[in-house]
């Protein structure tokens, strides 16, 4: 068949068709990417708008007269006597404080001081009590104290709760909201940065305003420590053996296939395995981060092995030849030359494996690492590993499950923190990969 002769710039039927196809294909690509980006934007804005309020909390500053007559009737500052005063004994102090507040500022409210003091968090009295027990010398003085308000007041100021919503509520009354409006004007009630969300522990159903994410962050940290220390050495050793030393035969083929299969096993399977083996059979403690770490190690190992083997494979054979050629042993070849070249890839795979493990929820629920397990930060390494704790995703799940919308807000806040960790880790992996890309 003869070619059409003519100018190269002239469009033939064939070239027109080809160009149209190219254009169409580019359009499909753009549409696909736009949809993806749109989803991402929607996701991020939802998460941020819903979660960002968790990083603020409503506080009220009150002057509390720590009356000796209430806290230390005998006046001898005996700590045992002072400890006998329960949180109920502290309630009158806050009530008195409100009474003074109302009269001093000429506030126009129908509420009794007792009713007014109900805008405080239920944890207020015990906070006060802990403060006094810590330092008995404050008894008899008037101390300016910052309390959490309860979650309905917090929700009202954040716009989560409207006056319309609370008509039949036993928890909060319109009069209380009026009072809060006045106090906001006076600067006595205000929203502040919520440090205790970042540092604190989960709280009971009745006190969402006091619930924090910090302790479960620490739980996750210890778990990741275990995962890293177990899965990196084991995974790398296994990969080096399989890739560099093992003979190619049906046994290694079976091992290979099964590692790939393991990587595809749903995480809940590892969870129930952990429950059966680590807890029911080996009687390791429930809810302990090191057990959680072991379960997640099972899950992370295949990922690390697969990526480590891939990066070992990507080291060119010419490097191995070079080393063997000057009389290096197999061991020396691997450890002096191959492994250093594969290290960035191994590290990247490890970080990605850890990031996956960090976001894993289901296996943790099965071994009891749910929210409201730990109420204090672990103080030692051993405690951090062995004492019951939760982890970030499990804490988020726990909050999302509770009925009070105040917890829901915290679940979203927790998701923001979790995502920050994940994005940081993945960015680190990308940077490492870029930085050390193929230097040979």
């Amino acid at each position: 068949m003869a070619h059409e002769t003519g100018s190269l710039s002239e469009a033939t039927a064939l070239s027109r068709k080809r160009r149209a196809a190219e254009k169409r294909y580019r359009l499909y690509g753009l549409v696909a990417i736009s949809i993806g980006l749109l989803m991402l934007v929607i996701l991020l804005t939802t998460i941020i708008t819903k979660g960002v309020t968790a990083f603020q909390q409503t506080y009220i500053t009150l002057d509390i007269e720590l009356l000796e007559s209430k806290l230390d009737k005998k006046g001898n500052r005996d700590i045992n006597d002072i400890k006998k005063v329960s949180t109920f004994g502290y309630a009158p102090l806050t009530k008195n404080s409100f009474e003074k507040l109302i009269s001093a500022n000429n506030l126009n409210t129908a509420l009794s001081p007792k009713k007014a003091s109900k805008i405080l968090s239920k944890s207020a009295a015990s906070e006060l009590r802990n403060f006094v027990i810590n330092d008995t010398s404050v008894i008899g003085r008037t101390i300016s104290f910052e309390f959490l308000t309860n979650s309905w007041i917090d929700g009202y100021l954040k716009g989560r709760i409207n006056r319309g919503d609370i008509q039949n509520s036993k928890n909060v009354s319109p009069e209380q909201l009026d009072l809060v409006d006045e106090l906001v004007k006076l600067g006595i009630v205000e929203k502040k940065f919520n440090l205790s969300f970042l540092l604190g522990s989960d709280a009971s159903d009745m006190r969402p305003e006091a619930a924090g994410f910090g302790v479960s962050m620490v739980g996750s940290f210890y778990m990741m420590l275990v995962v890293l220390l177990l899965s990196l050495p084991v995974g790398v050793a296994a990969s080096i053996y399989l890739e560099e030393f093992a003979p190619r035969n049906w046994i290694t083929d079976i091992i290979e296939v099964n590692i790939s299969n393991l990587a595809a096993v749903p995480s809940i399977v590892f969870g129930i395995l952990g429950l059966a083996v680590f807890i029911n059979f080996m009687h390791l403690p429930q809810s302990a981060p090191f057990v959680g770490g072991m379960v997640l190690t099972l899950m992370t190992l295949p990922t690390i092995i697969i990526s480590t083997r891939a990066s070992l494979k990507s080291v060119p054979p010419s490097i191995r030849d070079a080393a063997l050629g000057v009389g290096a042993s197999k061991m020396q070849t691997v450890f002096h030359h191959v492994l250093p070249l594969a290290a960035p890839g191994i590290l990247t795979g490890t970080i990605i494996g850890l990031a996956q493990a960090l976001g894993e929820t289901a296996p943790l629920l099965l071994i009891g690492m749910i929210g409201y397990i730990a109420s204090n930060m672990p103080s030692t390494l051993l405690e951090g590993l062995a004492s019951p704790n939760s982890a970030m995703p499990a804490q988020i799940y726990e909050w999302a499950k509770r009925s009070d919308p105040a917890f829901y807000e915290r679940a979203w806040g927790g998701i923001i923190i979790l995502l920050i960790f994940l994005v940081t880790m993945n960015t680190l992996a990308v940077i490492l990969r870029r930085r050390f890309e193929r230097r040979w």
Binding site: S318, I319, G325, V326, G327, Q332, H336, R439, W440
Partner: protein
């Protein structure tokens, strides 16, 4: 001196799985000479060369029969440690493959793992001597800490030669060392090879008959796994005895 036999192969057969790549080769390679292996692509030159330092051991499907004596000792004897053998029989590969480390480290690596020096200054001396020997010193003496992979192709190949001779080998195997280089770099390497035969037994595989003619004293012509003809280079090129050799050097096969 000229006639001292360094390597002698007897009845060497090499198989890749069931496929025979080398058929019953007998050859005596002399010390302080350059021996060239020529032949059409796929005839088994590299395979045979890699038998001489047991690099074929790294290919699991490769099987070697017969014996290869290095100074009378069979290198395929079960007691021989291939790792030690390779320090004695150095190798330079087709594609320059310096380690992605500094120029200094490239040369120092062999002496390091074989414990060939006493002190740091000792090692410095070895590195300098070896780089001079490889005609590379003047070009790299000011940048020994720079990566060896940053050098030009020809320099990289000379670095690889330096690396190979740093372990004080007796035999130097080169598998088409110039096939990835430009003519100028090739000329430099050829000059170096001519120089190296003063101290080493050099065996070079080449697909270029001109190169074989230029650098070698002896030439072996392989064809389909057979060692067809082996002799003085000049003799072989001028008066080939086997018709296959003749048609190869006259360009009819290859």
């Amino acid at each position: 001196m000229e006639d001292e036999v360094k390597i002698s192969a007897r009845g060497v057969q090499v198989y890749y799985e069931d496929k025979q790549a080398i058929k019953n080769v007998d050859v005596k390679i002399q010390d302080k000479t350059v021996t060239a292996f020529i032949g059409p692509s796929g005839c088994g030159k590299s395979t045979f060369l890699r038998c001489l330092n047991r690099m074929n051991d790294t290919i699991s499907i490769c099987r070697v029969e017969g014996e290869i004596l290095l100074e009378g000792q069979n290198i395929y004897h079960p007691d021989v440690d291939p790792v030690q053998l390779r320090a004695k029989v150095g190798m330079v590969f087709q594609k320059p493959n310096p380690f992605p480390k500094s120029i200094y480290e490239n040369v120092a690596y062999g002496p390091r793992i074989h414990g060939l020096f006493e002190s740091k200054s000792d090692l410095d001396e070895i590195v300098e001597m070896v780089l001079r020997r490889a005609a590379l010193w003047e070009e790299v003496k000011d940048r020994l800490s720079e990566p060896g992979t940053g050098l030009s192709g020809g320099q990289q190949q000379r670095l690889c030669i330096a690396r190979a001779i740093a372990t004080r080998p007796e035999v130097l195997l080169m598998d088409e060392p110039c096939s990835a280089l430009d003519p100028i770099a090739t000329a430099q390497i050829e000059e170096l090879i001519a120089d190296l035969k003063e101290n080493f037994c050099v065996v070079i595989v080449t697909h270029s008959m001109q190169q074989a003619a230029r650098v070698s004293n002896k030439t072996a012509f392989f064809h389909l796994g057979d060692l067809v003809e082996y002799g003085e280079t000049e003799e072989l090129f001028v008066r080939p005895t086997d018709p296959r050799t003749e048609s190869y050097i006259s360009g009819k096969i290859g």
